[in-house]
Structure formats: C-alpha cells, structure tokens
C-alpha cells in the first residue's frame, strides 16, 4: 500500500469512527490526514516500541480536536487495538475527543486549548537539542489556531533558540468555527509572517501525501539553525463532497443519509 492509499484508508476509517461516536470535528480531521500520514508513516520511525527511546522523534498534534484522525492512525500502527476506536467520545471511554497523553498510548502531549501544543513542542525541541539529541519534533497546527498569540510567542522563541530540529506543519484549510479564516481573522500574507519570525518556509498541496512528505523531508534536511514551517494547503472536509471547503463542517453530526453519501465519496477514491 502506498502512502496515498494509506491516507485514503485512514480518512475512511476516521469518517466511520466519528459517525459511530455521534459526530465531531469532521472538517479538520479530514483535512489533516495526509499530513499525519506523511509524518507518522513517512518521516518518523513511529511504533509502540519507539516510545521507550528518549531520543525518538515526537509528533505533537497541537490542533487537538483532530484527535479521531490521530487515533485511527495510532490503532493502525498498533498502539492499541482497533476495537478501542468504538470508545471514541464515549462516557468512561479511553479515547477523548481532544487528545490525551495520559489516556492514549502514542499521544505525546494532551492538547485542545489552541496554541499550547505548539509551545510544548517547542519545549521538547529545546530540551532535545540541549542534550544534542538527533530527534526532531513535529507540530501540527490549524490555521485558525494561528489566531492565538501563543503561536507567535512560540515562533519567536523557536527562532531565538535556533531550533532547527523543530518542524511545524500548518493544516491550512482556510476555515474555522465561525466562518472562513479570511472572514474571521485574516491571516494576511501567512508565509511572510513566518519568514519575518525567522523560520524556513515551504508550501505544498497538503492533501497530496507525496508532496507533503517531500516538503517535510526537505525542511528536515535544512538544519540551518532555523525552525521550519510547512504551510500545507488543504481542503476542509477533504474527500466528502458536501463537506469540502465548507466551514460549517468544522464540527457537526451526520444523518444516516449524509453518512452513506460520505462513505460513497470516500470509497470511490
């Protein structure tokens, strides 16, 4: 199975798990799939046994509401049994919507309040670099998340500390809860903002897994004393016809009919 086929499978399983759980953040879970696939399957050597290695690479999903997409990947990678996906968002379950490091094996940091995972990821990169570890830290952010001041505090600090082991990937799906990002809080010249903060910047089609992998690999190889960001241009609700590009699907619930339509869309890929 190539990485795009893996992405397609993860996307379908994410959609199914979220429908079974009663709904959730479909838009951002479906847009981020290729980014997760590229990092977890392509870039990192990520497996349950790698967790005991203090010098392992880390992936921090700062947009913690995309938990279901990560859980599907973690189950696929053997961090827990696939049956556990049935516990998503369930009372007393072990898979809370927003990722939880104390409850889910493979989750390196609990996130949800936006911006915080990015700082924590920066702290990991700083600590790893301070002991000359070869490990890299990957942080996945939403574009709406970049409204948070903490994101830019982290951006400034990461450049200040020369964290060239720190790679951010922004899932730029151009939507957030209330509307499209340009209508809620315009990010302006987004790549230039990062450049101005001292980051290496790359851009790609964020729903083309090979393009994401190539871009991240290129950034990892730079090692020029600067942190790097990949602006991954994605489609909110990718793969489901009635969700694509529609901010209203940031989160929601599906009717059975909608579920069947979505499944058909995803199976047709």
């Amino acid at each position: 199975m190539n990485l795009q086929e893996k992405s397609n499978e993860l996307r379908k399983d994410t959609f199914k798990a979220m429908y079974a759980s009663g709904g959730g953040h479909f838009g951002g879970c479906l847009s981020v799939i290729e980014i997760l696939t590229a990092i977890l399957y392509g870039v990192m050597d990520f497996s349950p046994s790698s967790l005991s290695d203090p010098d392992r690479d880390r992936m921090i999903l700062s947009k913690g509401h995309a938990g279901p997409a990560l859980y599907v990947a973690l189950a696929d990678l053997g961090f827990f049994e696939k049956e556990r996906l049935g516990e998503l968002d369930k009372n007393g379950g072990r898979l809370p919507k927003h990722i939880d490091r104390l409850k889910v094996p493979g989750v390196e940091f609990s996130t949800g309040p936006l911006g915080q995972g990015f700082s924590a990821a920066g702290g990991m990169a700083l600590a790893l670099k301070s002991r000359n570890s070869k490990a890299s830290v990957y942080a996945i952010l939403g574009d709406g998340e970049c409204d948070e001041g903490q994101v830019w505090e982290t951006a400034m600090a990461a450049a200040n500390f020369n964290l060239d082991n720190f790679i951010a990937v922004v899932d730029k799906n151009n939507c957030q809860v209330d509307s499209e990002t340009k209508d809620v809080m315009d990010l302006g010249d987004f790549p230039d903002k990062w450049r101005a903060f001292g980051w290496n910047v790359s851009e790609c089609d964020g729903n083309d897994v090979d393009a994401v992998l190539e871009a991240i690999s290129g950034l990892v190889a730079l090692k020029n004393g600067r942190p790097s960001v990949l602006i991954a241009n994605t489609v909110k609700g990718k793969g489901v016809s009635f969700m694509e590009g529609n901010y209203r699907w940031h989160s929601g619930k599906l009717s059975e009919e909608q579920y069947m339509t979505g499944l058909k869309d995803l199976e047709g890929v």
Binding site: G122, Q150, E153
Partner: protein, 314 residues
Amino acid sequence: METRDTNETYGKTLLRLAEKYPELVVLEADLGKASGSVPFKEKYPERYYNFGVAEQNMVGFASGMAAVGKIPFASTFASFMSQRALDQVVNSVGYNNENVKLIGTYAGITSEKNGGTHISVLDIAAMRAIPRMLVFDPGDAVEYEKILEFAAGHEGPVYIRANKGKFPVFHSSDYTFTFNKAEILSSGSDVALITTGLTTYQGILAVERLRKDGISVLHLHMPTIKPIDKAAIQMAMEKTGWIVTAENHSVINGLGMAVCAVAAETVPGKVTRLGFQDHFGETATLDYMMHKYGIDSDGMVEVIRSGIRKKGGQ
C-alpha cells in the same frame, strides 16, 4: 532576628540543587532579576532560558521540556503566573501532569509599589483549584529553601510563592520541612491562629503580645496550602472552638477558605479570615498595606482581643 532575602535564597538554592539534579533547568520571562536566578544563569548558562516577556510561552515550553525529562523551574510574578499564564498552567502543566515547578515571585502585597495590577490577590485561589497542583507559601528563607528542595525531588506540578524582600528568619537552619504538616509555633487554648507565608512572622509577634494579655494562642504555621493538614485544623478547632486565619492574599479561596472547608466538614466552629477583604492591592509599602489590610500583628491582636472579650461576655 536575622533577615534573609528571598531573591538571594532562590539563586543559592538553585545552585545547590543544580548539582544534585542534572536535569534541572531554569526558565524566566524577563524577570530573572526579580526571582534571583541570575547566579544560576552565570554558572549554568546552558541550563538557563529566558523567554522574554511571554509568560504563557514560558510555561508552555516548560511543560514540553518536562515531557522529555527536564525539571524546569519557571518563575515570574505571582500575578502573571496565576493570571496571564493560567490556562497554560492548568492544561499544559496540570492536565498533562508535567513535572514543572512554578515560582510566583513578588507574591501578594510584597509587590508593594508596583501596585494593584501586579499584586497577586488570587494566585493561591487559582492554583489551589488546579487538580494535581501542590501549593506552598513559605514562612521564611530557610523554609523556602527546603520547599524548593522538596519540589525538585517531587514528581509533578508544584506552585511556590516567593515574597519580595528581606524577611526575618524564624526557623533554625536545621529545621526539617514536612510536606503537608502544619508547624505548631505555640500551643494555647483560647484561640487558634493559622498563618502562612508572610503572615506567620506577624503571627509570632501577635502571639507574644497576646500572651502578655493572658490570652493563650495555638499558633499553626501552614506552609503547605494544598493539600492541607486537615488533622491539624481539626485539632485546632476541637481545642479552641475559634480559628483566626491570616494570609497575604484575598480571603476568597485562599488559606482561610481552605481552613473553613475542613472545619465545616469535621469540627464546625467559628473561623475569622484576615486577608484582602475582596479588594485589589495598591501602590504602597508593605508595612502600610499589611497594617491597612489587617494582616500585621496589630490586626491579629485586635481581632483576637475583641473576639476574646466577646467570648468572655465583656
């Protein structure tokens, strides 16, 4: 009585702990001069990180550093730590259960002339409500040092208040700090006085003055505010029926309320809470505010004298 500077104590203690704990790192948000960590910076520049005026980010980075095995000691003014960075303290540190030590400097009215925006009125309240967080308000420099040492060895989130300035040292250097244990500074039966941090020395003075009036005070110093020594509070209430608390903090959800809760759940009785009576601080000296807010020895003596008079039916 000898006085010691809180600031110097932090610097010296960090230097000592740095040798014992190679993973200990120090984080500042442009207030290293205030916390006193500069000597650590000079000796261990590679273990010292300044985040600029960005408290939220400092706490966030601290949690990430802890997640890969460091023991971060992060400090900023108590007001900023508990207000500006509160969401990061709650989620990145508390919810993630990261091994981060938070030092809230210039606690309460020791911020003095920095004034109302800088005087922390609710840091104990906020920190106390965070699951997993331990909260300490040391009585003097000796105890501050012991609590810092305890924090370094404890796995999990810790918040420690640090007062600005030089304060009398009433503990001897061989004092043993016991986690979650009240220290009995004087035994008595007419009233119990429970103090913490800055107010404990004032309490010692008050007890001495009251003794001359023939009033015997059971004085407990409570350096560990969360968890809290329930048995000591219960004992104090059983013995005296009236507890007066005093703190360098709002009377809402600080030491006094913690004492009230324990009393209500165990041996109900009267509790009088001295502290900031639901108001902000102001630009003024420490002595002025301690007196005005009734948390110096005068305030304690007055409240206790008048309460005892009423108790005696006079």
